[in-house]
Subunit: 162 residues, 8 copies
């Protein structure tokens, strides 16, 4: 069976879920088996280590990590897995997510995190990018992704209303 | 033969090459066939359209796009290909690359660009991330990537010198 | 007849219209024939290419383009038309429009976008600036613009109230 | 004769000239008659008033104004002329031109300044945009502009060197 | 009589009054005769010139100028009067007043504006600073200012409540 | 005699002097008696308290305080003297003086600091503003200030050179 | 008895208490005797001097200081006591606390302030860090801190809800 | 013997040592036994885990962690030790250390890092703050710290030179 997850979505806390569930929704729509877990780099560092180190052997292909503020989850995950890691900066209360963005994107040479936009758009796009990576070797996902993008293009009205 | 490129590196101008060649060097080291082209979103928009639309059919799996300032190349490429696109913000003269970073990373929902760090570190990491994506279905690349990371870990001295 | 549009207002999505309709309102008031279209650089890149390349031949004189976040619409339009392009940074949810502003204004040498203020003030001003350009060869518009500015000056009370 | 200037380039001080002369060079190349003056909003406010108020009657069509720091020249010029005004933020010593940019672009509704990129690229682009406005009613300039852009496109090498 | 104003409070628009009236309230409390006017640098440049140039002869000693966005009012006033000018950056809708602050404070050498904090605190403090300047030669104002500061110190509770 | 200082220039460290001596030079030129002292808020807090509390009784009229980074000197001085305090943000090594600027200008209601531009321009302007305050009751200084400004205006060339 | 306070929490005004009481709550929970006072650097500089200079002799071990805007309280306290000082940047109305953060953290060499996150998280963490310092020589506090952290780790759900 | 280290200085790479050695030098001067190690959060995550988890048992009292860019070392260390952790943002090439600062200071509630200034000043101050914590229970260190501060105060010249 192919229902064991190929994409892991992890986030620093329950409060990130309203943003990160958009990544899950996209993967659902694309037919990509996935899982969503709370893994806090700061509050559960051991869980992070276990998750990251086991990810590849468990069959995951891509990890999406969302976090806010001094957002260390994506980068620390990337430090402990050879899988591609996508980072979603969750908007912070005080600095609009600029802190989250810089904490995720400014990784040193040697350990990459593919960073998406701050907030909900970034979560959606992390789902789409994970699907695009899976689609490189999965024609069914590729077809759904093509359909999604075609529908997206078709859905743009010619003239603004209101 | 397997030497037709699987990763395309594009950049907005010749002046981005001193940064972007670090992506090429990593791909070389990882044994990933690649190509490097100058494709300016603003000066050669037709070339961009052709490149992006043909990329998948030509056998590319990942596109790495580097640009600076109002950096539109990664996002516009992502708009015209289903392939995963990685963006490298090239450091700008006046705003240290903050403009490049925001122009690349803040993509609207529906069209993702996986963004790396500003400058040389980002170019290296784009190469590594592209290799990690390729490695999902290429054991030779996966082995080289593992070796690269192991060497990187081993290369960190215990005690600072000087 | 002179009712074929001389100014094209384009925007990345329906959600930009509450801002961009202020540009349309000014052009209406100045008696400048105009059109408003949704053209998404990222979701409808072909529509953008067609729009930009056909603009001059269709009789447009100025294009006003509004977009938010990684705002590529103004710059990509400018890349494909010899017409003057005015850009309006639409305020983004997470970074107050700083991302929109830098993505629009920091164009590389060779492809200019005349950028206005973030948000509604910028949309109004894009309309006024387009009218000022049209007015260079249209005395009726010039007269309306003069009247608008005179009324604006007269409308400033001497003493604050309240 | 057509040699009376149609574009006025003004700048806050002699120290802005190394940047602003790039606007002049482009206008020269495009065959657009122009003049370059030092007009300091803060040190010569009367000169500014005279310049801005006389500009249209003297036959100018477009004004390009460059300034740095608390850059008031473009906005104050726009306040006193119906002509389209283009602003060039000159890079400042302490804040990389972010202060110049915001001081120029964030004009209130009613008085637009079409703002270009910070520094030399912005000066070049101000020249090009002024030429594009002139070209709306001057076929010779339009032809030169087309040629400039075509040459620019042709000048982009396919492959990076070095 | 001494009731002709010694401090002039000017602001760019009616919308600045809810902030700037705090400067007026302080001057009232300090017994400093003052006036409040709307003087828009961009919409009423002539009024600004007249106001600034006549200020000293009319008996003003200090001018307080408040404005937002590309805030040119304080600096342009300072350009046309030898009187000390205090600037109040009014909080802007899109960039939290950072644009207002930089547009006011980053004046070039030769034309100073003494800049206060963004928003209401800055308006209060502009009033206090104007009073402190007047107090240098007015013992009654000096006494009131001392009393104000003493009361302010006394008003700070020892222990937080709630 | 009138040579006891009326303006006190203080700075956080010797390293601020290359910037702050420009304030002293202007006061010298304007004929305003002044003194320059190093008073570190952080390293010599007692000296600061003594200086600030004694300033008025010693005959000072205005205090100019320059500091960088977490620049507390101007604000703490203002907390302990009724005299008007002008602040000069000295450019910092890491954040271009943005930290210095915000630390000085964002004073809470009740304790004003009139803040000038970052760096040398701010130091010059602090000197000019102090002179303008002194000039309110000193015709000789007023005359010198008028002459300085007239010369400054006359010194602006009409046309850029080079 | 040991109930005389070992940690002093000070804040610039009553309005900081809704943030700073989170530091007090943590210390309460950790069993660390503490006190909370309002000490305004700008409105009560003498109280600050007395508080800071007496702190060590009164038996305090750590001082937590919270303030917003041009936040001078933590740094000035650190200037007058040998005790470790922790700073909490309180979120400001206009610049989201960036001004508070930079005013606190960018202390010059020689006088450290250990700075925590902007706002409530920073207040909680200042309490925790003070407790960690106390715990170095107080096994009861150390045990409570360990229990707090263990509970915190245990409290992280595996899977997001909703 | 007391020479087993009580303060651990760790840094992300050899390139941080020119900054971080200033922390070591201060501890040396204060007579605080210390050690300096390279521990990269991203390249040697296991070493980090071992170091952080063993720190307390090894007798360390305080950990100083310096890192740049997406600086995760201080926060991840704090996640795995109950000891107080001080963070030093090392100046980054592209964003002047703003990324380093925000990545370190904006920790979520529950896991504090006491953050010092960006760069060399921060490293010196981390050393001083660690010493101040040690001094709470070590009179010899307390005496040296008092002497250091007294000398620092005495070393401030009255009048600037040059």
């Amino acid at each position: 069976m192919t229902t064991s997850p190929t994409v892991g979505i992890i986030m620093g806390s329950q409060s990130d879920w309203p943003v990160m569930r958009h990544a899950a929704a996209i993967l659902e729509e694309m037919g990509v088996p996935h899982e969503a877990k709370i893994v806090s780099a700061h509050r559960t560092p051991d869980r992070l280590t276990e998750y990251a180190k086991a990810a590849k052997a468990r069959g995951l292909k891509v990890i999406i990590a969302g976090a806010g503020g001094a957002a260390h989850l994506p980068g620390m995950t990337a430090a402990m897995t050879p899988l591609p890691v996508l980072g979603v900066p969750v908007q912070s209360k005080t600095l609009s997510g600029l802190d989250s963005l810089l904490s995720i994107v400014q990784m040193p040479r040697g350990v990459p995190v593919g960073t998406l936009a701050i907030g909900e758009a970034g979560a959606v796009n992390a789902g789409l990018m994970a699907a695009a990576i899976i689609a490189l070797n999965d024609d069914a996902v590729a077809a759904k992704l093509d359909a999604y993008r075609a529908a997206q293009t078709d859905g743009v009205a010619e003239v603004p209303e209101g």
